[in-house]
C-alpha cells in the first residue's frame, strides 16, 4: 500500500545573523497509514523543525525549506499553494503543541476554539459544530462536556487543556496527528493519562501519529517505529523492539543509558552523554556525533556514515561501526 507520508531528502535552514543554521539535513523516511512513529532526540536536533516543515509552518524568512519532497497521501506538499496547504492543515494533518498553557487563546471559550476547525473545514453550521465539539470533548475524557464548552481556557487545568487541544486536533478526523512533545509540560500522572488517551483514540480512529519527544521512555510503549534524530539527521530508525533490544548507534545507546531503570541496583548512577551537540551553523564534515562518541575512529571524522540496513531491513543506522555495537 502507498505510504501515508513519504519524505525525501528534506533540508530546512534558518538564515540568521550568525550564519545559516542547518536545522534539518536531508531527512528521508516513509510512514504507513495508521502507523505510530516516535521521533526522538535532544533539544535542537531538528525534531520539531522537521514536523513544522511537514506542516509548512516554518517562518520564511528567516527559515527556508532548501530542498526535498514531502509526499502526503499522493500530494507533494511543498508544491501546493498557500491556500491548498491551509486546506490540508487541520483537515488532514493536525498538530498538538507542547505548552497547553499558551496553545489556547485566552479570549475565546474552549468550545468556540474547537468549533473553529469544524466550521472551517467541514462547513458545519454553528449548532452542528457545537454538538460535535461536545462529543469530541467527552471523547477526550472531559466530563460535563456540554457545560465545559462555555468555559474559558483559564478555567481548565493543564491536563484538561491538553485534552481540549487533542479534541481540537482530532475534530476533522485527520489522517496524521503530529504531537510535538505534548506531555512535556505536564506532571507524570497526567502524562500517562494523555498518552493512554492518544493510544486509545489512535486505535479507534486509525490515524497515523507522529509523537515527538526527547524521552525514549515515553514512546517505548506506544509507538511502532522510532526515528532517532541528531543534529538534523536521522541516525537510527527501526521498530521499537529493534531500537531497544538491538541498538546499533552509539547515540541511541547513550540515550537508553541515560534512562533510569527500575531493575537497577539502588545507588547506580545514570549515564550521561558527555559533550554538547554540534553547532548547526558549522556542521563537522564527518559523523555529526564524532565529538561525543566513545566508538569513534579516524574514518568517522572524515566521512559521514550513510544510513545502512542492518540485519533487519527495517532497521537502518548511520554508523560505520554498527556491527560492533
Amino acid at each position: 500500500m502507498e505510504p501515508l507520508i513519504k519524505i525525501k531528502n528534506l533540508k530546512t535552514r534558518f538564515h540568521t545573523e550568525d550564519g545559516v543554521v542547518k536545522a534539518v539535513n536531508g531527512v528521508s523516511y516513509k510512514m504507513a497509514r495508521g502507523e505510530v512513529l516516535g521521533v526522538v532526540g535532544e533539544s535542537g536536533c531538528g525534531k520539531s523543525v522537521h514536523a513544522l516543515s511537514i506542516m509548512r509552518l516554518i517562518q520564511i524568512p528567516p527559515g527556508e525549506i532548501e530542498s526535498g519532497e514531502i509526499w502526503f497521501d499522493g500530494q507533494e506538499l511543498l508544491k501546493l499553494s498557500d491556500k491548498e496547504m491551509r486546506q490540508i492543515r487541520g483537515r488532514d494533518i493536525a498538530m498538538v503543541f507542547q505548552d497547553p498553557m499558551s496553545s489556547l487563546n485566552p479570549v475565546y471559550t474552549v468550545g468556540m476554539q474547537i468549533m473553529e476547525a469544524l466550521i472551517l473545514h467541514k462547513n458545519m453550521n454553528k449548532k452542528a459544530a457545537r454538538e460535535r465539539a461536545a462529543e469530541l470533548l467527552s471523547m477526550v475524557g472531559i466530563p460535563e462536556a456540554n457545560k465545559r464548552l462555555d468555559n474559558y481556557p483559564h478555567q481548565f487545568s493543564g491536563g484538561m487543556r491538553q485534552r481540549a487541544m487533542i479534541a481540537m486536533a482530532l475534530s476533522c478526523d485527520p489522517k496524521l496527528l503530529i504531537a510535538d512533545e505534548p506531555t512535556t509540560a505536564l506532571d507524570v500522572t497526567i502524562q500517562a493519562q494523555i498518552i493512554n488517551l492518544v493510544i486509545k483514540l489512535q486505535e479507534e480512529m486509525g490515524m497515523a501519529v507522529m509523537w515527538i519527544t526527547h524521552d525514549l521512555g515515553i514512546v517505548a510503549e506506544m509507538v511502532h517505529k522510532i526515528n532517532v534524530m541528531y543534529a538534523g539527521f536521522i541516525i537510527e530508525r527501526g521498530n521499537v523492539r529493534d531500537i531497544f533490544k538491538k541498538t546499533r548507534h552509539p547515540y541511541t545507546k547513550g540515550l537508553l543509558g541515560s534512562l533510569p531503570r527500575i531493575d537497577e541496583a539502588p545507588g547506580t548512577k545514570l549515564v550521561s552523554i558527555a559533550g554538547l551537540p554540534p553547532d548547526l551553523v558549522n556542521l563537522p564534515t564527518g559523523c555529526p556525533f564524532y565529538a561525543r562518541c566513545t566508538y569513534r575512529q579516524d574514518r568517522c571524522r572524515q566521512e559521514q556514515p550513510p544510513l545502512e540496513e542492518t540485519e533487519n531491513s527495517d532497521h537502518v543506522v548511520a554508523c560505520w561501526r554498527w556491527k560492533e555495537i
Binding site: P61, R89, L120, Q155
Partner: protein
C-alpha cells in the same frame, strides 16, 4: 499497559465553574477598585454634562456679550444687581462662565475623541500590520502589496527632489520586482543587492537627467540606497522598520511643538487642532500595537491557529487583535486625558478654538490677565474643569490597566 479509564479522570470532583469571559472578569475587578470608580464617575459626569449641554441647552457664542455684567463674582442667590444667577461668575465680556464651561466640555470631548480616533486608527493599523508581518511568514500577495507600497513611499523622496512623479511608480515597480525575484536565491545576498542597487541608480538617475546633473546625481545616490534596501529579502521586517523609523522621527519632536507647527501649517480652528493632536499621537499607538502584536504572535495559540489552517486575516483579527485590546484600551483612555490637555494648551496659545467659541484653554487665556483685578473665578472654573476631566480619565485608565491585566498588579 494499564487500563484506560476515560470515564473517570478525577475531574468529577470539581464542580464545573460558572463561565465568565475575560471582559466580565475585568469589569468586576474595575468595579471593586475605588479610585477607578471615582474616575469613572467623573468621566460619566463630564460626558453627560457636555453632551447634555450641546443637545439640550442652546448656546450661541457669537453675540453673547454684555458689558454691564462684566466680571461679576459668582453668586448663588439673586442679588440686587440683577435677577440672574451666575454660579461661576462672568468673564470680561459679561458671559456666564458656568454656561461656557459646560459648553467648553463638549468641545474638549470632541477634540479628545477625534484626536484619539485619528491616532488610534492610523497608528494602531500601522502597528498592527508592522508587527504582524514582522512575525508571520508573508504569502505572495501580502509581500507584493507591502513591497510595492514600500517602494512607492521610498520613491517619494527622489520623486519629490526631481519633481518627477514617474519615479514613485518606478520604485514601486522595483519593490514589486523584489518579490518576484526567486526567493530561493536569498543565500547569495551580494548579487541581489548589486542588481537592485544598480537598478535603483538607473531609475533615480534617468529621470533626474531631464532636470539637471546635480539632481541626477542626488537621485542616483538615493536610488542606490533604495535599491539596496528593497533587495533585502525580509519583506515584513523591512516594511516594519520603515514604518517605525518614521514614527521615531515624529517622536523626536517635542509633542507640543509639533502640534503647534501642524496648526500653524493648517491654520487655526478646533478641527485643525484635533488633526494636529491626533497626528502627534500616532507613534504612541503604532509602537504599542506593534510590540503587543509581536509578543502575542509568539504565543502557541497563533501557531495552533495556523496549524488548523486559518488564513492570515482570520488569525490577525480573531486571534491577535482581541489579545492586544487591553493595552490599547488603557492607552486610549489615558490618551483622551492627554488630548484634552493638549487642546487646552493650544487654546491657551490662541491656536485652537477660534475666539467666541467656548473652549477651556482659550477661556483661561482670555481671563488670566484679570487675575490681578481679583477676578479669580474667570480662571478657576475652566481650570478646574480641565483638572477634573484629565484626572478622571487618568484614574479610569489606571483602573482599567489594573483590571485588564491583573498580572502587573503587585
Amino acid at each position: 499497559m494499564t487500563d484506560i479509564r476515560l470515564e473517570n479522570n478525577g475531574f468529577e470532583d470539581f464542580a464545573v465553574r460558572e463561565h465568565r469571559s475575560l471582559w466580565l472578569d475585568a469589569w468586576r475587578r474595575l468595579v471593586a477598585n475605588r479610585t477607578a470608580m471615582i474616575g469613572l464617575i467623573v468621566v460619566v459626569v463630564f460626558i453627560l454634562s457636555a453632551t447634555g449641554a450641546h443637545f439640550f441647552w442652546e448656546y450661541e457664542a457669537r453675540g453673547d456679550l454684555d458689558y454691564n455684567k462684566k466680571l461679576l463674582a459668582p453668586t448663588i442667590l439673586p442679588t440686587e444687581e440683577g435677577p440672574e444667577i451666575h454660579i461661576f461668575g462672568t468673564d470680561k465680556l459679561g458671559r456666564d462662565i458656568f454656561r461656557r464651561t459646560v459648553h467648553g466640555g463638549w468641545n474638549s470631548l470632541r477634540v479628545g475623541l477625534v484626536a484619539v480616533g485619528i491616532s488610534l486608527v492610523i497608528g494602531g493599523l500601522l502597528g498592527l500590520v508592522s508587527g504582524f508581518f514582522e512575525s508571520i511568514y508573508l504569502n505572495f500577495w501580502e509581500s507584493l502589496v507591502l513591497m510595492t507600497l514600500l517602494g512607492a513611499s521610498l520613491g517619494t523622496l527622489p520623486g519629490w527632489i526631481a519633481r518627477q512623479p514617474m519615479q514613485i511608480i518606478l520604485f514601486a515597480g522595483l519593490g514589486a520586482a523584489s518579490v518576484f525575484y526567486d526567493r530561493r536565491l536569498l543565500n547569495r545576498k551580494a548579487p541581489r543587492q548589486v542588481y537592485f542597487g544598480l537598478l535603483g541608480i538607473i531609475i533615480g538617475g534617468i529621470t533626474g537627467i531631464f532636470v539637471g546633473t546635480l539632481v541626477a546625481v542626488v537621485c542616483g545616490i538615493l536610488g542606490l540606497v533604495i535599491g539596496v534596501l528593497l533587495a533585502r529579502p525580509l519583506g515584513g521586517k523591512i516594511f516594519s522598520s520603515f514604518v517605525m523609523r518614521i514614527m521615531d522621527v515624529i517622536l523626536s519632536f517635542p509633542s507640543y511643538l509639533l502640534a503647534i507647527a501642524i496648526v500653524a501649517f493648517l491654520g487655526p480652528g478646533l478641527e485643525k487642532g484635533m488633526i494636529a493632536i491626533g497626528v502627534v499621537g500616532i507613534p504612541v499607538y503604532a509602537r504599542l500595537a506593534r510590540s503587543a502584536v509581536l509578543s502575542v504572535s509568539q504565543k502557541e495559540y497563533v501557531l495552533a491557529a495556523q496549524s488548523v489552517g486559518e488564513s492570515h486575516g482570520r488569525i490577525l483579527f480573531r486571534h491577535i487583535v482581541p489579545n492586544i485590546l487591553s493595552p490599547i484600551i488603557v492607552q486610549s483612555t489615558m490618551g483622551l486625558a492627554n488630548a484634552i490637555l493638549s487642546a487646552a494648551a493650544l487654546g491657551f496659545l490662541g491656536l485652537g478654538a477660534i475666539p467666541p467659541e467656548p473652549e477651556w484653554g482659550a477661556m483661561l487665556g482670555d481671563s488670566y490677565k484679570y487675575l490681578s483685578s481679583g477676578a479669580w473665578w474667570a480662571v478657576l472654573f475652566p481650570g478646574l474643569a480641565i483638572v477634573f476631566s484629565v484626572l478622571g480619565f487618568n484614574l479610569l485608565g489606571d483602573g482599567l490597566r489594573d483590571a485588564l491585566d491583573p498580572k502587573i498588579r503587585s
